[in-house]
Protein backbone atom coordinates (compact mmCIF):
# COMPACT_ATOMS: atom_id res chain seq x y z
CA UNK A 1 0.00 0.00 0.00
CA UNK A 2 1.30 3.41 -0.90
CA UNK A 3 1.78 5.98 1.81
CA UNK A 4 0.28 9.23 0.49
CA UNK A 5 0.57 12.83 1.63
CA UNK A 6 -2.68 12.56 3.58
CA UNK A 7 -1.20 9.94 5.87
CA UNK A 8 1.58 12.29 6.87
CA UNK A 9 -0.79 15.19 7.34
CA UNK A 10 -3.12 13.07 9.47
CA UNK A 11 -0.27 11.83 11.62
CA UNK A 12 0.95 15.38 12.01
CA UNK A 13 -2.52 16.61 13.00
CA UNK A 14 -2.83 13.79 15.54
CA UNK A 15 0.55 14.58 17.07
CA UNK A 16 -0.31 18.28 17.16
CA UNK A 17 -3.59 17.56 18.97
CA UNK A 18 -1.78 15.35 21.45
CA UNK A 19 0.59 18.21 22.13
CA UNK A 20 -2.27 20.69 22.62
CA UNK A 21 -4.21 18.34 24.89
CA UNK A 22 -1.11 17.53 26.89
CA UNK A 23 -0.32 21.22 27.32
CA UNK A 24 -3.82 21.98 28.50
CA UNK A 25 -4.16 19.09 30.96
CA UNK A 26 -0.72 18.51 32.43
CA UNK A 27 0.46 20.77 35.23
CA UNK A 28 4.18 20.07 35.30
CA UNK A 29 6.11 22.87 33.59
CA UNK A 30 8.64 20.51 32.01
CA UNK A 31 5.91 18.22 30.65
CA UNK A 32 4.18 21.30 29.23
CA UNK A 33 7.45 22.26 27.56
CA UNK A 34 7.69 18.76 26.09
CA UNK A 35 4.15 19.08 24.75
CA UNK A 36 5.11 22.34 23.01
CA UNK A 37 8.09 20.57 21.46
CA UNK A 38 5.74 17.85 20.25
CA UNK A 39 3.52 20.49 18.63
CA UNK A 40 6.48 22.11 16.87
CA UNK A 41 7.82 18.80 15.64
CA UNK A 42 4.45 17.65 14.35
CA UNK A 43 4.37 20.83 12.28
CA UNK A 44 7.85 19.97 11.01
CA UNK A 45 6.47 16.64 9.80
CA UNK A 46 3.70 18.46 7.91
CA UNK A 47 6.16 20.89 6.40
CA UNK A 48 8.53 18.19 5.20
CA UNK A 49 5.69 16.09 3.75
CA UNK A 50 4.13 19.06 1.95
CA UNK A 51 7.48 20.23 0.71
CA UNK A 52 8.29 16.77 -0.64
CA UNK A 53 4.95 16.34 -2.38
CA UNK A 54 5.10 19.77 -4.02
CA UNK A 55 8.75 19.47 -4.97
CA UNK A 56 9.46 22.83 -3.33
CA UNK A 57 12.26 23.38 -0.80
CA UNK A 58 10.82 26.35 1.12
CA UNK A 59 9.06 24.11 3.63
CA UNK A 60 12.20 22.20 4.43
CA UNK A 61 14.12 25.42 4.95
CA UNK A 62 11.50 26.56 7.45
CA UNK A 63 11.99 23.24 9.28
CA UNK A 64 15.61 24.17 9.97
CA UNK A 65 14.50 27.49 11.43
CA UNK A 66 11.88 25.73 13.54
CA UNK A 67 14.47 23.32 14.90
CA UNK A 68 16.80 26.15 15.92
CA UNK A 69 13.93 28.09 17.47
CA UNK A 70 12.81 25.00 19.39
CA UNK A 71 16.34 24.51 20.70
CA UNK A 72 16.56 28.14 21.82
CA UNK A 73 13.15 27.89 23.45
CA UNK A 74 14.12 24.73 25.30
CA UNK A 75 17.26 26.42 26.62
CA UNK A 76 15.39 29.47 27.87
CA UNK A 77 12.49 27.41 29.19
CA UNK A 78 14.63 25.02 31.20
CA UNK A 79 16.60 27.95 32.62
CA UNK A 80 13.35 29.54 33.76
CA UNK A 81 12.16 26.26 35.25
CA UNK A 82 15.39 26.02 37.25
CA UNK A 83 15.02 29.62 38.43
CA UNK A 84 11.44 28.89 39.55
CA UNK A 85 12.42 25.62 41.24
CA UNK A 86 15.17 27.32 43.26
CA UNK A 87 12.64 29.83 44.47
CA UNK A 88 9.57 27.69 45.14
CA UNK A 89 10.85 24.07 45.21
CA UNK A 90 8.06 23.11 42.81
CA UNK A 91 7.41 23.34 39.09
CA UNK A 92 3.70 22.60 39.36
CA UNK A 93 2.13 25.53 37.53
CA UNK A 94 -0.89 25.60 39.84
CA UNK A 95 1.51 26.49 42.68
CA UNK A 96 2.98 29.40 40.72
CA UNK A 97 0.19 31.83 41.41
CA UNK A 98 1.52 35.10 42.76
CA UNK A 99 -0.53 37.16 40.29
CA UNK A 100 -4.24 36.72 39.91
CA UNK A 101 -7.01 38.68 38.20
Amino acid sequence: MEITLNWYLTLSALLFSMGVIGFLFRRNAIVMLMCVELMLNSVNLSLVALSQSMGDTAGQILVFFVMSVAAAEAAVGLALVIAIFRDKLTIDVTQINLFKY
Binding site: F16, V36, L40, L50, D56, V76, V81, F99
Partner: protein
Protein backbone atom coordinates in the same frame (compact mmCIF):
# COMPACT_ATOMS: atom_id res chain seq x y z
CA UNK B 1 22.25 34.20 -12.27
CA UNK B 2 26.02 34.27 -12.20
CA UNK B 3 28.04 34.86 -9.09
CA UNK B 4 29.06 38.45 -9.71
CA UNK B 5 25.43 39.45 -10.11
CA UNK B 6 24.51 37.68 -6.89
CA UNK B 7 27.41 39.43 -5.20
CA UNK B 8 26.32 42.86 -6.33
CA UNK B 9 22.74 42.12 -5.23
CA UNK B 10 24.06 41.10 -1.85
CA UNK B 11 25.94 44.38 -1.50
CA UNK B 12 22.78 46.34 -2.35
CA UNK B 13 20.74 44.34 0.15
CA UNK B 14 23.36 44.77 2.85
CA UNK B 15 23.12 48.52 2.34
CA UNK B 16 19.32 48.40 2.49
CA UNK B 17 19.36 46.49 5.80
CA UNK B 18 22.34 48.31 7.31
CA UNK B 19 20.29 49.37 10.36
CA UNK B 20 19.60 45.73 11.15
CA UNK B 21 23.25 44.78 10.85
CA UNK B 22 24.35 47.63 13.12
CA UNK B 23 21.97 46.55 15.87
CA UNK B 24 22.71 42.83 15.52
CA UNK B 25 26.50 43.23 15.46
CA UNK B 26 26.41 45.65 18.40
CA UNK B 27 24.41 43.07 20.33
CA UNK B 28 27.02 40.40 19.66
CA UNK B 29 29.82 42.81 20.57
CA UNK B 30 28.06 43.68 23.82
CA UNK B 31 27.78 40.04 24.89
CA UNK B 32 31.55 39.61 24.51
CA UNK B 33 32.35 43.03 25.94
CA UNK B 34 30.21 42.39 29.02
CA UNK B 35 31.95 39.07 29.62
CA UNK B 36 35.33 40.80 29.92
CA UNK B 37 34.24 44.11 31.47
CA UNK B 38 31.12 43.35 33.54
CA UNK B 39 28.91 46.30 34.47
CA UNK B 40 31.06 48.67 32.41
CA UNK B 41 29.63 52.14 32.01
CA UNK B 42 30.09 51.95 28.23
CA UNK B 43 27.68 49.03 27.79
CA UNK B 44 24.44 51.04 27.70
CA UNK B 45 26.17 53.70 25.61
CA UNK B 46 27.07 51.18 22.90
CA UNK B 47 23.53 49.82 22.91
CA UNK B 48 21.95 53.26 22.84
CA UNK B 49 24.24 54.51 20.08
CA UNK B 50 23.57 51.43 17.94
CA UNK B 51 19.82 51.92 18.24
CA UNK B 52 20.11 55.66 17.59
CA UNK B 53 22.25 55.08 14.50
CA UNK B 54 19.68 52.61 13.17
CA UNK B 55 16.91 55.08 14.04
CA UNK B 56 18.54 57.89 12.05
CA UNK B 57 19.13 55.62 9.03
CA UNK B 58 15.55 54.41 9.02
CA UNK B 59 14.06 57.86 9.60
CA UNK B 60 15.85 59.03 6.47
CA UNK B 61 14.46 56.17 4.39
CA UNK B 62 10.79 56.62 5.43
CA UNK B 63 10.23 58.75 2.36
CA UNK B 64 11.88 56.19 0.07
CA UNK B 65 9.61 54.08 -2.13
CA UNK B 66 8.78 50.60 -0.89
CA UNK B 67 11.17 47.96 -2.11
CA UNK B 68 12.25 44.41 -1.46
CA UNK B 69 15.55 42.99 -0.33
CA UNK B 70 17.14 39.59 0.23
CA UNK B 71 15.33 37.78 -2.56
CA UNK B 72 11.95 39.27 -1.60
CA UNK B 73 12.24 38.12 2.01
CA UNK B 74 12.19 41.64 3.49
CA UNK B 75 10.60 44.97 2.66
CA UNK B 76 12.51 48.24 2.76
CA UNK B 77 11.50 51.88 2.76
CA UNK B 78 8.00 53.31 3.25
CA UNK B 79 5.91 51.60 5.91
CA UNK B 80 8.68 49.13 6.80
CA UNK B 81 11.05 52.03 7.49
CA UNK B 82 8.36 53.73 9.58
CA UNK B 83 7.82 50.67 11.77
CA UNK B 84 11.56 50.10 12.04
CA UNK B 85 12.21 53.63 13.21
CA UNK B 86 9.34 53.28 15.68
CA UNK B 87 10.87 50.11 17.13
CA UNK B 88 14.40 51.53 17.18
CA UNK B 89 13.24 54.76 18.79
CA UNK B 90 11.29 52.86 21.43
CA UNK B 91 14.35 50.72 22.13
CA UNK B 92 16.64 53.74 22.45
CA UNK B 93 14.28 55.55 24.84
CA UNK B 94 13.83 52.37 26.88
CA UNK B 95 17.58 51.96 27.24
CA UNK B 96 17.94 55.52 28.52
CA UNK B 97 15.22 54.82 31.10
CA UNK B 98 16.63 51.40 31.97
CA UNK B 99 20.11 52.57 33.02
CA UNK B 100 19.08 54.39 36.23
CA UNK B 101 16.30 51.85 36.83
CA UNK B 102 18.65 48.87 36.93
CA UNK B 103 20.91 50.71 39.39
CA UNK B 104 17.88 51.47 41.53
CA UNK B 105 16.65 47.88 41.73
CA UNK B 106 20.20 46.65 42.27
CA UNK B 107 20.40 44.34 39.27
CA UNK B 108 22.80 46.18 37.02
CA UNK B 109 23.30 43.31 34.57
CA UNK B 110 25.10 44.15 31.33
CA UNK B 111 23.44 41.40 29.32
CA UNK B 112 20.14 43.24 29.61
CA UNK B 113 21.30 45.71 26.99
CA UNK B 114 22.45 42.96 24.65
CA UNK B 115 19.09 41.23 25.06
CA UNK B 116 17.25 44.49 24.31
CA UNK B 117 19.31 44.76 21.11
CA UNK B 118 18.55 41.17 20.10
CA UNK B 119 14.86 41.65 20.84
CA UNK B 120 14.98 44.77 18.67
CA UNK B 121 16.58 42.76 15.86
CA UNK B 122 13.66 40.32 16.06
CA UNK B 123 11.15 43.17 15.93
CA UNK B 124 12.92 44.75 12.96
CA UNK B 125 12.84 41.48 11.04
CA UNK B 126 9.19 41.04 11.98
CA UNK B 127 8.16 44.56 11.03
CA UNK B 128 9.91 44.36 7.65
CA UNK B 129 8.92 40.79 6.76
CA UNK B 130 7.65 39.91 3.31
CA UNK B 131 7.51 36.16 3.78
CA UNK B 132 6.03 33.90 6.43
CA UNK B 133 9.47 32.42 7.13
CA UNK B 134 10.79 35.89 7.96
CA UNK B 135 7.73 36.59 10.10
CA UNK B 136 8.32 33.39 12.06
CA UNK B 137 12.04 34.00 12.59
CA UNK B 138 11.47 37.61 13.64
CA UNK B 139 8.61 36.75 15.95
CA UNK B 140 10.58 34.06 17.72
CA UNK B 141 13.79 36.07 18.00
CA UNK B 142 11.76 38.81 19.62
CA UNK B 143 9.76 36.52 21.90
CA UNK B 144 12.67 34.47 23.23
CA UNK B 145 14.59 37.63 24.11
CA UNK B 146 11.51 39.05 25.82
CA UNK B 147 11.09 35.89 27.94
CA UNK B 148 14.63 36.41 29.18
CA UNK B 149 14.16 40.15 29.75
CA UNK B 150 10.97 39.52 31.73
CA UNK B 151 12.71 37.11 34.07
CA UNK B 152 16.17 38.56 34.46
CA UNK B 153 15.60 39.61 38.07
CA UNK B 154 16.04 36.03 39.18
CA UNK B 155 15.92 36.71 42.90
CA UNK B 156 12.39 38.07 42.63
CA UNK B 157 9.54 35.52 42.49
CA UNK B 158 7.29 37.90 40.59
CA UNK B 159 9.79 38.33 37.79
CA UNK B 160 10.52 34.61 37.30
CA UNK B 161 6.87 33.70 37.62
CA UNK B 162 5.76 36.14 34.97
CA UNK B 163 8.62 34.98 32.72
CA UNK B 164 7.55 31.32 33.06
CA UNK B 165 3.92 32.18 32.30
CA UNK B 166 4.96 34.29 29.32
CA UNK B 167 7.25 31.53 28.10
CA UNK B 168 4.77 28.67 28.36
CA UNK B 169 1.88 30.54 26.76
CA UNK B 170 4.12 32.16 24.17
CA UNK B 171 5.60 28.83 23.10
CA UNK B 172 2.09 27.34 22.98
CA UNK B 173 0.89 30.11 20.69
CA UNK B 174 4.00 29.65 18.54
CA UNK B 175 2.83 26.11 17.85
CA UNK B 176 -0.49 27.40 16.49
CA UNK B 177 1.22 30.11 14.50
CA UNK B 178 3.57 27.61 12.91
CA UNK B 179 0.82 25.13 12.10
CA UNK B 180 -1.01 27.99 10.42
CA UNK B 181 2.05 28.70 8.28
CA UNK B 182 2.34 25.01 7.36
CA UNK B 183 -1.32 24.80 6.30
CA UNK B 184 -1.13 28.00 4.26
CA UNK B 185 2.02 26.66 2.63
CA UNK B 186 0.27 23.40 1.85
CA UNK B 187 -2.75 25.18 0.38
CA UNK B 188 -0.93 27.79 -1.68
CA UNK B 189 2.50 26.27 -2.28
CA UNK B 190 4.31 29.40 -1.17
CA UNK B 191 5.17 31.44 1.88
CA UNK B 192 5.68 34.72 0.05
CA UNK B 193 2.84 37.18 0.72
CA UNK B 194 2.13 38.14 -2.87
CA UNK B 195 2.20 34.54 -4.10
CA UNK B 196 -0.15 33.48 -1.29
CA UNK B 197 -2.65 36.10 -2.40
CA UNK B 198 -2.54 35.03 -6.04
CA UNK B 199 -2.93 31.35 -5.14
CA UNK B 200 -5.73 32.05 -2.65
CA UNK B 201 -7.71 34.05 -5.19
CA UNK B 202 -7.68 31.09 -7.55
CA UNK B 203 -8.62 28.45 -5.01
CA UNK B 204 -9.02 28.69 -1.26
CA UNK B 205 -10.11 25.50 0.45
CA UNK B 206 -10.56 24.36 4.02
CA UNK B 207 -6.83 23.97 4.43
CA UNK B 208 -6.19 27.61 3.53
CA UNK B 209 -8.86 29.05 5.81
CA UNK B 210 -7.82 26.76 8.65
CA UNK B 211 -4.25 27.91 8.23
CA UNK B 212 -5.28 31.56 8.20
CA UNK B 213 -7.32 31.09 11.39
CA UNK B 214 -4.38 29.49 13.20
CA UNK B 215 -2.08 32.25 11.95
CA UNK B 216 -4.50 34.88 13.24
CA UNK B 217 -4.64 33.17 16.64
CA UNK B 218 -0.86 33.36 16.82
CA UNK B 219 -0.86 37.04 15.87
CA UNK B 220 -3.70 37.98 18.23
CA UNK B 221 -1.83 36.29 21.05
CA UNK B 222 1.31 38.29 20.39
CA UNK B 223 -0.55 41.60 20.24
CA UNK B 224 -2.47 40.57 23.41
CA UNK B 225 -5.95 40.84 21.94
CA UNK B 226 -8.78 39.25 23.95
CA UNK B 227 -9.55 36.36 24.37
CA UNK B 228 -5.83 35.58 23.99
CA UNK B 229 -4.78 38.26 26.47
CA UNK B 230 -4.50 36.15 29.63
CA UNK B 231 -0.72 36.39 29.86
CA UNK B 232 -0.56 40.17 29.48
CA UNK B 233 -1.51 41.42 32.98
CA UNK B 234 0.71 38.90 34.79
CA UNK B 235 3.69 39.54 32.54
CA UNK B 236 3.40 43.31 32.58
CA UNK B 237 2.97 43.34 36.35
CA UNK B 238 5.92 41.07 37.10
CA UNK B 239 8.45 42.27 34.53
CA UNK B 240 10.91 45.06 35.41
CA UNK B 241 9.05 48.32 34.75
CA UNK B 242 11.14 49.85 31.96
CA UNK B 243 11.24 46.46 30.22
CA UNK B 244 7.44 46.39 30.46
CA UNK B 245 7.42 49.75 28.74
CA UNK B 246 9.65 48.39 26.00
CA UNK B 247 7.72 45.21 25.33
CA UNK B 248 4.29 46.77 25.62
CA UNK B 249 5.19 49.22 22.87
CA UNK B 250 7.87 47.98 20.49
CA UNK B 251 6.85 44.32 20.40
CA UNK B 252 3.21 45.24 19.93
CA UNK B 253 4.07 47.71 17.17
CA UNK B 254 6.19 45.13 15.33
CA UNK B 255 3.63 42.34 15.65
CA UNK B 256 0.79 44.62 14.54
CA UNK B 257 2.87 45.87 11.62
CA UNK B 258 3.44 42.29 10.48
CA UNK B 259 -0.27 41.54 10.89
CA UNK B 260 -1.15 44.63 8.84
CA UNK B 261 1.17 43.58 6.04
CA UNK B 262 -0.13 40.00 6.08
CA UNK B 263 -3.72 41.25 5.85
CA UNK B 264 -2.86 43.80 3.21
CA UNK B 265 -0.68 41.71 0.91
CA UNK B 266 -1.47 38.06 1.55
CA UNK B 267 -5.12 37.76 2.58
CA UNK B 268 -8.08 39.13 0.65
CA UNK B 269 -9.24 41.70 3.19
CA UNK B 270 -13.01 41.71 2.77
CA UNK B 271 -13.52 38.34 4.43
CA UNK B 272 -11.67 39.39 7.58
CA UNK B 273 -13.50 42.57 8.42
CA UNK B 274 -16.18 40.83 10.50
CA UNK B 275 -13.79 38.49 12.29
CA UNK B 276 -11.44 41.31 13.22
CA UNK B 277 -14.36 43.52 14.22
CA UNK B 278 -15.57 40.87 16.68
CA UNK B 279 -12.11 40.50 18.19
CA UNK B 280 -11.81 44.29 18.37
CA UNK B 281 -15.07 44.57 20.33
CA UNK B 282 -14.15 41.77 22.77
CA UNK B 283 -10.69 43.25 23.26
CA UNK B 284 -11.87 46.81 23.86
CA UNK B 285 -14.62 45.77 26.27
CA UNK B 286 -12.54 43.30 28.29
CA UNK B 287 -9.50 45.56 28.47
CA UNK B 288 -11.37 48.65 29.53
CA UNK B 289 -13.83 47.03 31.93
CA UNK B 290 -11.30 44.93 33.84
CA UNK B 291 -8.89 47.85 34.03
CA UNK B 292 -11.50 49.72 36.10
CA UNK B 293 -11.06 47.47 39.12
CA UNK B 294 -7.25 47.22 39.21
CA UNK B 295 -5.40 48.41 42.29
CA UNK B 296 -1.89 47.89 40.94
CA UNK B 297 -1.08 50.59 38.43
CA UNK B 298 1.17 48.39 36.26
CA UNK B 299 -1.60 45.82 36.01
CA UNK B 300 -4.05 48.58 35.15
CA UNK B 301 -1.78 49.77 32.35
CA UNK B 302 -1.56 46.15 31.14
CA UNK B 303 -5.33 46.02 30.74
CA UNK B 304 -5.19 49.44 29.17
CA UNK B 305 -2.68 48.10 26.64
CA UNK B 306 -5.13 45.28 25.83
CA UNK B 307 -7.78 47.93 25.22
CA UNK B 308 -5.43 49.84 22.93
CA UNK B 309 -4.80 46.66 20.94
CA UNK B 310 -8.57 46.67 20.44
CA UNK B 311 -8.52 50.22 19.06
CA UNK B 312 -5.80 49.24 16.58
CA UNK B 313 -7.87 46.21 15.56
CA UNK B 314 -10.74 48.61 14.73
CA UNK B 315 -8.42 50.20 12.17
CA UNK B 316 -7.50 46.79 10.77
CA UNK B 317 -11.14 45.69 10.62
CA UNK B 318 -11.98 48.51 8.23
CA UNK B 319 -9.64 46.79 5.78
CA UNK B 320 -8.87 49.97 3.85
CA UNK B 321 -5.68 51.83 3.17
CA UNK B 322 -6.73 54.53 5.62
CA UNK B 323 -7.41 51.89 8.28
CA UNK B 324 -4.03 50.25 7.93
CA UNK B 325 -2.11 53.51 7.91
CA UNK B 326 -4.24 54.81 10.79
CA UNK B 327 -3.27 51.70 12.74
CA UNK B 328 0.41 52.43 12.17
CA UNK B 329 -0.08 56.04 13.29
CA UNK B 330 -1.93 54.84 16.38
CA UNK B 331 0.90 52.44 17.20
CA UNK B 332 3.36 55.31 17.08
CA UNK B 333 1.27 57.48 19.39
CA UNK B 334 0.65 54.56 21.73
CA UNK B 335 4.38 53.84 21.87
CA UNK B 336 5.19 57.39 22.94
CA UNK B 337 2.43 57.48 25.57
CA UNK B 338 3.28 54.13 27.10
CA UNK B 339 7.05 54.59 27.17
CA UNK B 340 6.38 57.80 29.06
CA UNK B 341 3.82 56.30 31.47
CA UNK B 342 6.04 53.34 32.35
CA UNK B 343 9.01 55.70 32.61
CA UNK B 344 7.17 57.71 35.28
CA UNK B 345 6.19 54.51 37.08
CA UNK B 346 9.79 53.31 37.06
CA UNK B 347 10.80 56.48 38.89
CA UNK B 348 7.90 56.20 41.35
CA UNK B 349 8.64 52.64 42.31
CA UNK B 350 9.38 52.01 45.97
CA UNK B 351 8.44 48.39 46.85
CA UNK B 352 11.69 46.79 45.62
CA UNK B 353 9.64 44.21 43.73
CA UNK B 354 9.52 45.93 40.34
CA UNK B 355 6.31 47.66 41.34
CA UNK B 356 4.37 44.41 41.33
CA UNK B 357 3.08 44.92 44.87
CA UNK B 358 2.61 48.64 45.29
CA UNK B 359 -0.91 49.94 44.91
CA UNK B 360 -2.03 53.11 43.22
CA UNK B 361 -3.30 54.45 46.56
CA UNK B 362 0.18 54.25 48.05
CA UNK B 363 1.22 57.02 45.66
CA UNK B 364 -1.40 59.45 47.00
CA UNK B 365 -0.26 63.04 46.89
CA UNK B 366 2.87 62.33 44.89
CA UNK B 367 1.87 65.01 42.40
CA UNK B 368 2.67 67.70 44.95
CA UNK B 369 5.78 66.00 46.26
CA UNK B 370 7.15 65.45 42.72
CA UNK B 371 5.36 67.94 40.45
CA UNK B 372 7.47 67.04 37.41
CA UNK B 373 6.42 63.39 37.54
CA UNK B 374 2.85 64.34 38.37
CA UNK B 375 2.43 66.69 35.43
CA UNK B 376 4.15 64.47 32.86
CA UNK B 377 1.99 61.58 34.05
CA UNK B 378 -1.04 63.84 33.64
CA UNK B 379 -0.12 64.41 29.99
CA UNK B 380 0.32 60.69 29.35
CA UNK B 381 -2.96 59.78 31.06
CA UNK B 382 -4.92 62.47 29.19
CA UNK B 383 -3.36 61.30 25.95
CA UNK B 384 -4.08 57.64 26.67
CA UNK B 385 -7.72 58.46 27.33
CA UNK B 386 -7.83 60.44 24.08
CA UNK B 387 -8.23 64.08 25.09
CA UNK B 388 -7.53 66.67 22.42
CA UNK B 389 -5.17 68.37 21.67
CA UNK B 390 -2.84 65.49 22.62
CA UNK B 391 -1.83 62.88 20.08
CA UNK B 392 -4.01 60.17 21.64
CA UNK B 393 -7.07 61.95 20.27
CA UNK B 394 -5.73 62.18 16.73
CA UNK B 395 -4.68 58.53 16.93
CA UNK B 396 -8.18 57.43 17.90
CA UNK B 397 -9.61 59.51 15.09
CA UNK B 398 -7.16 57.86 12.67
CA UNK B 399 -8.45 54.36 13.51
CA UNK B 400 -12.15 55.10 14.08
CA UNK B 401 -12.77 57.27 11.01
CA UNK B 402 -11.82 54.53 8.48
CA UNK B 403 -14.15 52.14 10.32
CA UNK B 404 -17.04 54.54 9.75
CA UNK B 405 -16.09 54.85 6.09
CA UNK B 406 -16.15 51.05 5.86
CA UNK B 407 -19.75 50.92 7.19
CA UNK B 408 -18.64 49.68 10.59
CA UNK B 409 -20.39 52.50 12.43
CA UNK B 410 -21.43 50.21 15.30
CA UNK B 411 -17.80 49.27 15.80
CA UNK B 412 -16.68 52.89 15.98
CA UNK B 413 -19.51 53.64 18.44
CA UNK B 414 -18.42 50.79 20.73
CA UNK B 415 -14.85 52.05 20.44
CA UNK B 416 -15.79 55.57 21.49
CA UNK B 417 -17.99 54.33 24.34
CA UNK B 418 -15.29 52.04 25.74
CA UNK B 419 -12.71 54.79 25.50
CA UNK B 420 -15.10 56.98 27.49
CA UNK B 421 -15.07 54.24 30.13
CA UNK B 422 -11.28 54.28 30.04
CA UNK B 423 -11.24 57.95 31.07
CA UNK B 424 -12.35 56.82 34.54
CA UNK B 425 -9.33 54.71 35.32
CA UNK B 426 -6.83 57.01 33.63
CA UNK B 427 -8.10 60.07 35.46
CA UNK B 428 -8.28 58.14 38.73
CA UNK B 429 -4.48 58.05 38.58
CA UNK B 430 -4.44 61.84 38.50
CA UNK B 431 -7.04 62.09 41.26
CA UNK B 432 -4.83 59.93 43.47
CA UNK B 433 -1.70 61.82 42.47
CA UNK B 434 -3.06 65.30 43.05
CA UNK B 435 -6.24 65.24 45.13
CA UNK B 436 -5.66 62.64 47.83
CA UNK B 437 -3.65 63.44 50.94
CA UNK B 438 -0.62 61.34 51.74
CA UNK B 439 -1.51 58.38 53.92
CA UNK B 440 0.13 57.63 57.25
CA UNK B 441 2.41 54.93 55.88
CA UNK B 442 3.15 56.93 52.77
CA UNK B 443 6.38 55.86 51.06
CA UNK B 444 7.01 59.55 50.39
CA UNK B 445 8.58 59.93 53.83
CA UNK B 446 11.36 57.40 53.34
CA UNK B 447 11.82 57.36 49.56
CA UNK B 448 13.17 60.41 47.81
CA UNK B 449 12.15 59.37 44.25
CA UNK B 450 15.17 60.97 42.62
CA UNK B 451 14.70 61.99 39.01
CA UNK B 452 17.85 61.36 36.92
CA UNK B 453 18.40 63.97 34.20
CA UNK B 454 18.42 61.37 31.44
CA UNK B 455 15.00 60.03 32.46
CA UNK B 456 13.63 63.55 32.78
CA UNK B 457 14.84 64.29 29.25
CA UNK B 458 13.04 61.19 27.91
CA UNK B 459 9.80 62.15 29.66
CA UNK B 460 9.99 65.71 28.34
CA UNK B 461 10.68 64.37 24.84
CA UNK B 462 7.60 62.13 25.06
CA UNK B 463 5.41 65.02 26.22
CA UNK B 464 6.69 67.27 23.44
CA UNK B 465 6.14 64.58 20.81
CA UNK B 466 2.60 63.96 22.05
CA UNK B 467 1.75 67.65 21.78
CA UNK B 468 3.44 68.02 18.37
CA UNK B 469 1.74 64.98 16.88
CA UNK B 470 -1.52 66.08 18.46
CA UNK B 471 -1.67 69.58 16.99
CA UNK B 472 0.04 68.94 13.66
CA UNK B 473 -0.94 66.29 11.15
CA UNK B 474 2.34 65.82 9.34
CA UNK B 475 2.98 62.37 10.89
CA UNK B 476 -0.53 61.35 9.91
CA UNK B 477 0.13 62.59 6.38
CA UNK B 478 3.31 60.51 6.24
CA UNK B 479 1.55 57.31 7.32
CA UNK B 480 -1.42 57.88 5.05
CA UNK B 481 0.95 57.56 2.09
CA UNK B 482 1.61 53.92 2.99
CA UNK B 483 -0.33 50.92 1.68
CA UNK B 484 -1.40 52.71 -1.48
CA UNK B 485 -3.24 50.46 -3.90
CA UNK B 486 -0.72 50.82 -6.70
CA UNK B 487 2.08 49.35 -4.58
CA UNK B 488 0.06 46.14 -4.20
CA UNK B 489 -0.15 45.65 -7.93
CA UNK B 490 3.52 46.47 -8.15
CA UNK B 491 4.29 43.67 -5.70
CA UNK B 492 1.91 41.29 -7.41
CA UNK B 493 3.29 42.02 -10.84
Amino acid sequence: MDLSQAYSMMMTDLGATLFLLIVAVSGLVLVVFDAFKPRHVATPWIAGLALSAGFVIEMMSIGAPEGLAWYDMMRTGGSAAFVNSLVLGSGALSIILTVPYLKKIGHNIGEVYAMILFATVGMLVLGAANNLVTVFVGLETMSICLYILTGFVRSESGSTESALKYFLLGAFSTGFFLYGIALIYGATGSMEFGAIRIAAEQSAGVMFWGGVSLLLVGFLFKVSAAPFHMWTPDVYQGAPTTITGFMSTASKAAAFAALVVVLWKALPAERWADVLAVFAVITMVIGNVIALSQQNIKRMLAYSSIAHAGYVLVGLASGSQAGYSGALFYLMVYTIMNIGAFGVLALLEWDGKEGSEQTLESLAGVGYRKPFLGWTMAVFMFSLSGFPPLAGFLGKWAVFAPAIDADLVWLAIIGVLTSAVSAYYYLRVLVVFFMKPEGENSPMAEHSFDIPRSSAAVLIACVVLLVVFGVTTFALDVTSGFFAADTVTQFLG
